[in-house]
């Protein structure tokens, strides 16, 4: 079989980006691992690594096909053409002149699926059975992630996913697919599994904040692949996406700690790390559609919104342990709505103009529909999946095991022996 011609520069950029995004999941494992108490550090990290391991297999066997194979007709799901990566060798995808090998695209998208499910583990820190988590990954990627990815990412000339091809809402790098999806699913998981022993009573200090900062630094680094790589080409669009990512991430890190400074008196390192993530989340859907100054606004707002949102769990009594809802859910909404307000064709002529640019609320409206539909679907779907797992094989360890800590209980290991 002859290889179809590709654009080498774009391929180089997408391959590099795929490597960067893959790194984000180990980075997340460090970020999450540092946030929990010593006794379940390894379990926390292991949940991310399981997402990589299991997610990869699911993706190549059927996940990619469900998400990106030709639509079955209603814009809801792909067909089984590419099961087992059938038909992806030596073929290409992408706009004319900007083709890349299909496998580069499969790889790049795989890393998105992996990190999205890994993010969810933050909601159920310290208390989930590892075996149940593995089962959850398989089911969730199949029933929730693949369809949502299809909706928002599978552009097939008008007959692909309903969000991108029919509704016409804009989501550059996964504000719906990754962020709102993970935020909503995390809320469902946190509710179904219930609160940790000692929630609101015991001090649950992060056990290793340098790990959190390093994790955040590596996530920041990887996010350039995530966002700028989503241009699928090395050019102007990737450049604007990259600098917007930098700006919003930096701005949110600063606005989070400014908010903390006012509210609690001190800017914290955990705040700077959390703010960075919140900003990167908020700019994820919007990085390819707004100008740098638009990104600055989205970042500043995203940081404060999430800094505020992470306290709600104490008020509303759900134990979203590592704040997936407050950071990814809320940040995702900020980004999607930010597009509706601030998108500008000056940044991307193939994008749109938001309310503040054109005075026209059309785009905003579409953004809200996309965001809320994904949130609702993901919340309900995840709630059902988690409930079924809970009632069958059980999703939570016993109270005693939880007190002892998951590292010895689930993995027969201790994180440190200093």
């Amino acid at each position: 079989m002859t290889n179809l011609p590709i654009n080498g520069a774009d391929t180089a950029w997408v391959l590099a980006s795929a490597a960067l995004v893959l790194l984000m999941t180990p980075a997340l494992s460090l970020f999450y691992g540092g946030l929990v108490r010593t006794k379940s550090t390894l379990n926390m990290m292991m949940m991310s690594f399981a997402a990589i391991g299991v997610g990869t297999i699911v993706w190549i066997l059927w996940g990619y096909s469900l998400a990106f194979a030709p639509d079955t007709g209603q814009g809801l799901i792909g067909d089984l053409t590419h099961v087992g990566l059938n038909g992806t060798l030596n073929t290409v995808v992408g706009a004319q002149g900007s083709e890349i090998p299909t496998l580069a695209f499969v790889m790049f998208q795989m890393t998105f699926a992996i990190i999205t499910v890994a993010l969810l583990s933050g909601a159920i820190a310290d208390r989930a059975k590892f075996g149940a988590w593995v089962v959850f990954i398989v089911v969730w990627l199949t029933l929730i992630y693949a369809p949502v990815a299809h909706w928002a990412f599978a552009a097939q000339g008008g007959s692909g996913g309903w969000i991108i091809d029919k509704l016409g809402a804009l989501d550059f790098a996964g504000g719906t697919v990754v962020e709102i999806n993970s935020g909503a699913a995390a809320l469902a998981l946190a509710i179904v599994l219930g609160r940790r022993e000692g929630f609101k009573r015991d001090a649950m200090r992060p056990h290793n904040i340098p790990f959190i900062l390093l994790g955040a630094g590596l996530l920041w680094f990887g996010w350039f692949g995530f966002n700028a790589g989503s241009a699928l080409a090395a050019g102007h669009l990737a450049s604007v996406a990259m600098i917007n990512t930098q700006i919003a991430t930096a701005a949110a890190a600063m606005s989070w700690i400014a908010y903390e400074r006012v509210r609690n008196g001190k800017p914290t390192t955990l705040g700077v790390a959390s703010g960075a993530i919140a900003g990167a989340v908020a700019i994820t859907p919007s990085c390819g559609f707004v100008t740098p100054l638009g990104a600055l606004v989205i970042g500043l707002v995203g940081g404060v919104a999430s800094a505020y949102a992470v306290s709600l769990k104490y008020r509303w009594n759900y134990d979203d342990s590592l704040d997936v809802v407050g950071i990814h859910g809320v940040g995702g909404f900020v980004g999607m709505i930010g597009i509706g307000l601030l998108a500008s064709k000056a940044a991307n002529s193939a994008g749109g103009d938001g309310l503040f640019i054109s005075g026209n609320p059309d785009l905003l409206f579409k953004q809200v529909i996309a965001a809320t539909t994904v949130a609702a679907f993901s919340f309900i779907g995840t709630w059902i999946i988690a409930t079924v797992i809970s009632r069958t094989i059980g999703f939570r360890v016993s109270r005693d095991q939880e007190m002892t800590g998951l590292d010895t209980v689930e993995h027969a290991e201790s994180a440190y022996d200093l």
Partner: protein, 112 residues
């Protein structure tokens, strides 16, 4: 023989050690401990949630001395550990019935 136990501020350990050395004491065993007392801990904040760290890091020194040295040595410790601020710590003295040096099996004052 007596065992003098002193719970003091970690930043004073260096000075106390020097003072003891000058007073002729060369053996000390030190343990890192958490102290609860009049001196309160501090508050930390993680994503808006306040966490009270209600203990203060202290160092515990244990020193075996001959009966006759107790007053002199406790005075040395008080003098070198004192900063005049709350949390300077406590010293207590207990009787020791026997002391043995492992290496030589010497016993009593000779083993100190």
């Amino acid at each position: 023989m007596k065992l003098i136990t002193a719970v003091v501020k970690p930043q004073r350990v260096h000075a106390i050690k020097d003072a003891l050395h000058e007073a002729g004491i060369s053996g000390i065993t030190v343990t890192q401990v958490d102290g609860f007392g009049r001196q309160k801990g501090h508050t930390e904040v993680y994503r808006g949630a306040s966490v009270t760290v209600d203990f203060v890091a202290k160092s515990k020194l244990e020193i075996l001395v001959s009966d006759g040295d107790v007053k002199r040595i406790t005075d040395v410790i008080v003098a070198s550990a004192n900063t005049g601020s709350i949390g300077d710590g406590k010293i207590w003295v207990t009787a020791v019935e026997e002391v043995i040096r492992v290496r030589t099996s010497e016993r009593g004052d000779a083993a100190i």
